[in-house]
């Protein structure tokens, strides 16, 4: 290092004169900046009870068979709380409560008044947003930044949007007079617990229905806090009922003869079972099932933004997203460059404690899911694909998975065909747009797709040709209460969000 007396030019590695800045030697002193210090969101002042019960007819009620099961925090494997196991008796009580509330109160109330209750709920979600975000993170493993910035605000927004529809339904279905369906049984998954709850309950209530909702058995907490909000908002008893439990509780709800409609979000496998068990009944149903989203990047795409989009499409929420862009289809011309940038970007992803505000990728939701993902990674390797995993360090406890990509795969590989529901991306190249579209459509799924290109007409042509319910163009994983979401083919039936999200919850008489 030169003396601190003005210019002393040395040569840089590339041969051009390197200004020896006075402070260049002090880089080591600032090294602490490079590894972001832990920035945990404090979970003090967040109440999580030791035990939660069902919420039936406006009160927390003991399960009939008095059995409880445990729920853990997947990031620490520590037990968070106990939840009631819903048996068919509990489901029956809930459905009765929902029916009574429907007949006596909710269907009698004007749309205007109904709307006001729903607005209240939206506001209260906003008020308790920090508590809900932290609870969501602890219960399910998703990064606090996601719960805080995406899940909870969006959940409030869905309630706000649908609250406004309650007294305006006559404008939603030209030529028809909509009437509510009645009592709705709703079963939601563990990947976006509170958000999925809002997608189900908000339109149902707005359209004049009452509900019995069963949250996923690994993530019931925010649903139960939502129940508190319903109670605090003065929602008439029985309009919203929450029954916790696992698969059998859900089956009891599906099979209950006094439920008018079933709404289910989950795997295609279970969706088919539910559709089958409803055969011959007159129950309405809507299904939001799995996906294997193609993300198409043309060679005229804005590359750096496409890289971000690809990363976001598959690694956001640990890849536990039905609409994830889990199949990258990249045009040959930029494939090498894109994949190189992708790898570099993956290495900068921070996998860690979900409660740390700097964490990009949190914990896998459960041991079962973790093992499933590992299994698929093995399958991928055995199928002969090349894989790359990010160099992110993993915490020693809890269920964590490194972001993974597979190249050298073809359409017939299992990892390209089957939904993995984890941070695993397969990468295929294509030469012509037609090829990309064929590959994109060559799947029984059809939930969401992405396309990246700078050319407008290509966006529209690709959008028109790819058979999926959501077409993200030069963006990915965007949600909004005004925007309908749902699948073609085996990705489901019906839409959630927007005007079209009302259809599953009304009878139009045809």
């Amino acid at each position: 290092m030169s003396e601190k007396t003005g210019t002393n030019i040395t040569k840089a590695a590339n041969g051009s004169p390197k200004p020896s800045s006075p402070n260049s030697d002090l880089k080591n002193e600032f090294a602490a900046f490079l590894n972001y210090a832990p920035a945990p969101e404090s979970s003090e002042h967040i109440e999580i009870k030791d035990r939660y019960q069902h919420f039936i007819d406006g009160d927390f009620t003991e399960p009939v068979k008095n059995r409880y099961f445990k729920s853990i925090n997947p990031a620490t494997e520590a037990v968070l709380s106990e939840f009631a196991e819903g048996t068919s008796e509990d489901v029956d009580a809930a459905v009765k409560a929902a029916r009574k509330a429907y007949d006596k109160q909710w269907s009698v109330l004007s749309g205007k008044e109904r709307g006001k209750y729903i607005f209240r709920i939206a506001r209260m979600i906003q008020e308790r947003s920090r508590e809900l975000a932290i609870t969501e993170t602890m219960d399910g493993g998703k990064p606090i930044r996601e719960s805080r910035d995406v899940d909870v605000p969006l959940a409030a927004a869905y309630f706000f949007y649908y609250a406004g529809w309650a007294d305006k339904l006559k404008y939603a279905f030209p030529g028809k007079t909509p009437v509510p369906v009645g009592v709705c049984g709703q079963i939601i998954p563990w990947n976006f617990p509170l958000l999925m709850l809002s997608w189900k309950i908000a339109p149902a209530l707005a359209a004049g229905n009452t509900v019995v909702l069963k949250p996923a058995e690994t993530t019931p907490l925010t649903a139960l806090k939502f129940a508190e909000i319903c109670r605090d908002a003065g929602l008439p008893k029985g309009v919203v009922n929450i029954v916790t439990g696992a698969g059998q509780t859900g089956a009891a709800l599906v099979d209950h003869p006094d439920v008018d409609k079933i709404a289910f979000t989950g795997s295609t496998e279970v969706g088919k079972i539910i559709q089958k068990s409803l055969a011959g009944t007159s129950k309405k149903y809507s299904l939001e099932l799995g996906g294997k989203g193609p993300n198409i990047v043309y060679d005229d795409a804005p590359v750096d933004q496409a890289v971000e989009g690809v990363i976001n499409a598959i690694f956001f929420n640990q890849g536990h997203v039905c609409c994830a862009g889990s199949r990258l289809l990249v045009q040959e011309g930029i494939a090498e460059k894109l994949i190189e940038k992708l790898k570099a970007r993956m290495d900068s992803l921070i996998v860690g404690d979900p409660l740390d505000k700097n964490t990009d990728i949190g914990a896998i939701n459960s041991k079962m899911q973790f093992e499933k993902i590992e299994k698929y990674i093995e399958i991928g390797k055995n199928e002969g694909a090349e894989f790359y995993q990010s160099s992110s360090e993993l915490p020693s406890n809890g269920f964590f998975c490194k972001p993974t990509i597979f190249t050298g795969v073809s359409q017939s590989n299992r990892i390209v065909q089957e939904e993995i529901f984890g941070p695993v991306l397969t990468i295929q190249t294509f030469r012509t747009p037609q090829e990309a579209i064929e590959k994109a459509n060559n799947t029984p799924y059809g939930l969401a797709s992405g396309v990246w290109t700078d050319k407008g007409s290509k966006i529209f042509e690709t959008g028109k040709s790819v058979r999926s319910g959501v077409m993200w163009s030069n963006t990915y994983n965007k949600f909004d209460p005004t925007s309908p979401f749902g699948g073609y083919k085996e990705s489901g039936i019906g839409r959630e969000g927007g005007l079209h999200g009302l259809y599953p919850y009304v009878n139009l008489g045809h």
Binding site: A12, G15, F30, A31, Y36, A39, D304
Partner: protein
């Protein structure tokens, strides 16, 4: 070493919403405790403490230099800033005031801020500044020519100024506020780097908007791709409009997550600012003492 070949017809599409989203995500990084203190000190060490006013005087420049050497006397171990930046006529004063310190003298040149003059005059001004002792030259590109599509003109001009710089290092100001689109910013960045810039800089500070995070991110990405292509490291300087320490830290996050640790030094990243210095000092002292500070306790030159 010869310059790498640049294709003037190259178009790099950029989606501005995607850029903004990336910036937004990076801004949600939470920098606490020792990371924060280290970051603040690092940012301080990267400042080009600047005065570029028609009414600059000997006194003003000397005060500026004094602050540059010792930003806060109660904490003499804090790093000094990287450089002071002045008009050519003030170089000699600055050199004198900074004698014995490690702070560099940067000077604007080439008919700053407009650049509306002929090449020979711009080159003469550059040579004058270098003779006066400037370590670094901040030039402006000809925006009119750029926006007309006359890229080779802009390229040649930068190359000529670079030559006139001799041993001094060259920062090329793109004046991104006048380029408006991110695609133009990218193009101007690539052009400047291929033409010989050592640093690419956002703004003169005389036009609004000056430095913004989306513009900075695009320029950092250009630098990354250039490095990938040629192995050369080019520096980046956002200038104007960065007044708060919190923003400065956010810029450092942009650099860290786009280019990595190698660029996190005053050799490759500078802040063109004046009031930022005090805000950083305020935050440093607050971290140390636990007490919120007042500007009354910090010299304002």
């Amino acid at each position: 070493m010869s310059n790498p070949v640049y294709d003037f017809n190259e178009i790099i599409p950029i989606d501005s919403i995607g850029v903004k989203e990336r910036v937004s995500r990076l801004n949600s990084r939470s920098i606490k405790k020792e990371s924060k203190v280290a970051g603040l000190k690092l940012a301080l060490s990267m400042i080009d403490h600047t005065t570029l006013e028609g009414k600059d005087s000997k006194g003003k420049v000397e005060q500026l230099c004094s602050k540059a050497k010792m930003p806060y006397s109660p904490m003499p171990d804090l790093p000094s800033v990287a450089a002071v930046c002045v008009y050519p006529s003030m170089i000699a004063i600055a050199k004198n005031a900074l004698r014995g310190s490690s702070v560099k003298v940067a000077s604007v040149a080439t008919s700053f801020p407009s650049g509306m003059s002929k090449l020979s005059i711009k080159l003469e001004e550059t040579r004058y500044a270098v003779e006066e002792g400037a370590d670094e030259i901040d030039m402006v590109i000809s925006r009119g020519e750029f926006l007309k599509g006359n890229f080779s003109y802009v390229f040649d001009e930068i190359a000529a100024v670079k030559e006139a710089c001799g041993e001094a290092h060259l920062k090329v100001i793109l004046e991104t506020g006048e380029l408006e689109t991110l695609e133009n910013v990218r193009k101007a960045s690539d052009l400047a780097m291929h033409a010989g810039a050592d640093f690419i800089k956002t703004s003169t500070g005389k036009v609004t908007p000056a430095a913004t995070q989306p513009v900075t991110l695009v320029m950092l990405e250009a630098i990354r791709d250039f490095h990938s292509k040629t192995g050369r490291m080019i520096g980046m300087k956002p200038a104007g409009g960065i007044r708060k320490a919190k923003e400065a830290l956010q810029y450092l996050v942009l650099v860290k997550e786009t280019l990595g640790a190698d660029w996190l030094t005053a050799d490759y990243f500078r802040f063109g600012a004046s009031s930022l210095t005090n805000d950083i000092l305020l935050q440093i002292v607050k971290q140390k003492s636990g007490v919120y500070q007042s500007l009354n306790y910090f010299s304002n030159d």
